[in-house]
Symmetry: C2
Amino acid sequence: MLVRQGGRGRSLYDEIKSSVLDGTYLAGTALPSSRACAAERGLSRSTVSSVYEQLAAEGFVEMRQGAGTRVAAGAAVAGAARPKGAKGARRPRVDPALSSIGRRLESLALPVRSASAPEVVDFVYGPLAGRDFPTLAWTKAARQVERQRAPVLAYEDPQGNEELRAALRVHLAHARGVFCDTSQLLVVNGSQQALDLCARLLVEPGDTVAVENPGYRMAHHVFECAGATLRGVAVDPQGLVPADLAHVPDARLIYVTPTHQFPMGGLMTIRRRNALLEWAAEKGAWIVEDDYDSEYRHAARPEAALQALDDRGLVIYVGTFSKTLSPQLRLGYMVLPHRLVAAFATAKRVADRHAPSAPQRTLARLLKSGAYDRHVRRLRRSQKARREALLAALGHYLQGQVSVHGASSGLHLVVAFDDLPSALEEELARLALLEGVQAYPLGRFYLPAPSASAAGRPAALVLGYASLEPERMDPGVQRIARALHRLRDRRTKGA
Amino acid sequence: MLVRQGGRGRSLYDEIKSSVLDGTYLAGTALPSSRACAAERGLSRSTVSSVYEQLAAEGFVEMRQGAGTRVAAGAAVAGAARPKGAKGARRPRVDPALSSIGRRLESLALPVRSASAPEVVDFVYGPLAGRDFPTLAWTKAARQVERQRAPVLAYEDPQGNEELRAALRVHLAHARGVFCDTSQLLVVNGSQQALDLCARLLVEPGDTVAVENPGYRMAHHVFECAGATLRGVAVDPQGLVPADLAHVPDARLIYVTPTHQFPMGGLMTIRRRNALLEWAAEKGAWIVEDDYDSEYRHAARPEAALQALDDRGLVIYVGTFSKTLSPQLRLGYMVLPHRLVAAFATAKRVADRHAPSAPQRTLARLLKSGAYDRHVRRLRRSQKARREALLAALGHYLQGQVSVHGASSGLHLVVAFDDLPSALEEELARLALLEGVQAYPLGRFYLPAPSASAAGRPAALVLGYASLEPERMDPGVQRIARALHRLRDRRTKGA
């Protein structure tokens, strides 16, 4: 390095450069000879020469044999010499527009969640408890991976680490009845990226995409941003209602959660699954199956995935480790029909090369050693304890006033307030927050358009319990009951 | 769980289910009573009841008081009973098409790199040496991060970990003259994701995107997949030639590597930088500055980034840790103009929520503790040793026959064979591989269309050296010299 950070020539370099940039030294201005400058500054001649050479290399000055060193033409910032401090000021400027995807993203008003105060009981869905993470097993495996660093750190297979995919294949066959080759597996940064890749590769702007309504809004948003027109399909306690697909004549793709409808908790019967597959085959529609929390069937053996029934290559299966390890890991996977593999692998490569290597290898070790299965069994027990505490509290404080949906599975449930119209659920949530409990109105899970299926339903709250300690369920529900009381009280007085 | 994996009821469950699915048991078929079935199978009645209940829950059978248990209508797979093993066979099927992005991705023939045999000297650009990774410092910081696991594992800020962004802000000001707020920073999965987000948010299908030619092909591909028409802009030893922008009247975006043109190695002078900024302001074009390896200015102090000259918010700055830590980490970042922050943060959230948390926190610790700077200084020395060994070998075996470009910076250089036409460079690379050395013809870095700037140039090879031990440079270059000799020999005989 000729001119070093903090070296003696540095201030000379900075001074000349900024004088050129702000127009103080005009083009053609001769700099003093290196001898003269060195004498004036008390620097060595070689230091000054280094500075001049550096400035010449960067085009601020020109050095010519016999002609000395002069400020180069065109080196000043346009509009110089402008007043100091003008940099932050906005001048009238051209504004290159966003793309249509960019404009859709910009107009998407996603809720920004900030962490609740510790005294608030937050029935948020999504987070897990830090103490449920298998720290010991993960750290042990991670150290083994660190010790085996390859001699060359190269970009890896865009579909994901080979060892992880082999372990996933075995896991999926055993746990989900999903039989696939490792070549069909694509490791992604959480299920969100799986959905995003589906939207980009399978949906054209203007296409219709069918979604469960109510449903998983972050999936809805992905397809909206791709320019799709969303059509909601009704759900009931057996999940998606295939008869309602008659209103969606031309969908390019349907997004479903067949094993545990989000958020209502329904489990699609085999009859409905077959009807859905038939519909998709007839319409030429892709089915994206989001199997986000099948590890948590509390009451029954997990039924096989919808993908296991598909012999036409219409189902794209999406899984995640966000519900068993941590949403902060950003690890998920897809099982792709063979004919989609090439396009998706290229898309992943162009999007971000591949998922980070070390976490993939660590996870492969956990799966292969059986530590992952042991962890999931442990975690199921601790989630069961939470769920039972929540159900007990609901029985205690709200018996006879609510119906509970989707409690047989997963990490959340829906509490419907039978005598309260849905129009009051936001108010109920607001009052609940004042009491110190955060719960999530069901209306927020519906598509925005006024929907027939939402009208006339009772008020309902979605309660996630995976990140709460069991002993907090009781005060949480008590506060909801208090809010309900206040709401009824107010209405009675108002009436 | 009623029916457990491997439990005694499992084979009964599987048998009934598959018989229903393949049509062996038709709809309405009565199953034996649980008592009869239990006796026949040697199972307990409660096991059989559990199996029936599970099958009912999944819709395979219906249980009615007094009517016993019957196979449900619509539960068989359509087309059943089909012959066993037909699942793999292809039937005529609808084929829901890929989107236009999907079709572009599918037709993109990206080179698939497999690792070279150990005896081959592979001058590949991209990988780093495993022994250069700061394993001790990284592992120490990673353990501290593990120990501080939060009580709740929630989705994080899509823009990235706050601590990492604060550390990055300081690092960028010091090392790159880039001054920004942490609110302008977006942590991404490597620079590839940064480019992908730019393509999605800033480029409309049909738009023109200007790129350096030759240039970084993975950037070209991102914009191609977004539907852009690419226009190549010439480069010379001072990087991008602004005069050549006259041929690109209407670009929406330009992708540049101003501090170290990839692959030719030019450094854009200040005059050219200003000309580029003026052009972009006038045309209303975004500038994407990929500052991928500025840590490796061997001969001079790193000059400030182009972003530092931009006072109109036209430059999107992209940085990466792939060249100083590992490409397998998948960690990079963007500095965004204020008016793009909201759209990009939402895009990141919709694309994959956020970058994985633990690696972000680990990196923040390395940056804050000074361990990262120490590592980069060490790494610079080891890359310098490689580069000097490579230059020495080139001097020894190819003196007078080649010109070397871009050796003053970065992790690769370009060797031009002055008397060999470019049409022969693929043949040279092929012969070199037979000699046991992999080198990369410069032609592969050009846009596919026959380009004026490519015509008439001499044959050239791109040599990356970051993953090779210094002692392998000599045999590597010797083998290239041998291949050159064979090529000339063959031509003389042919002539």
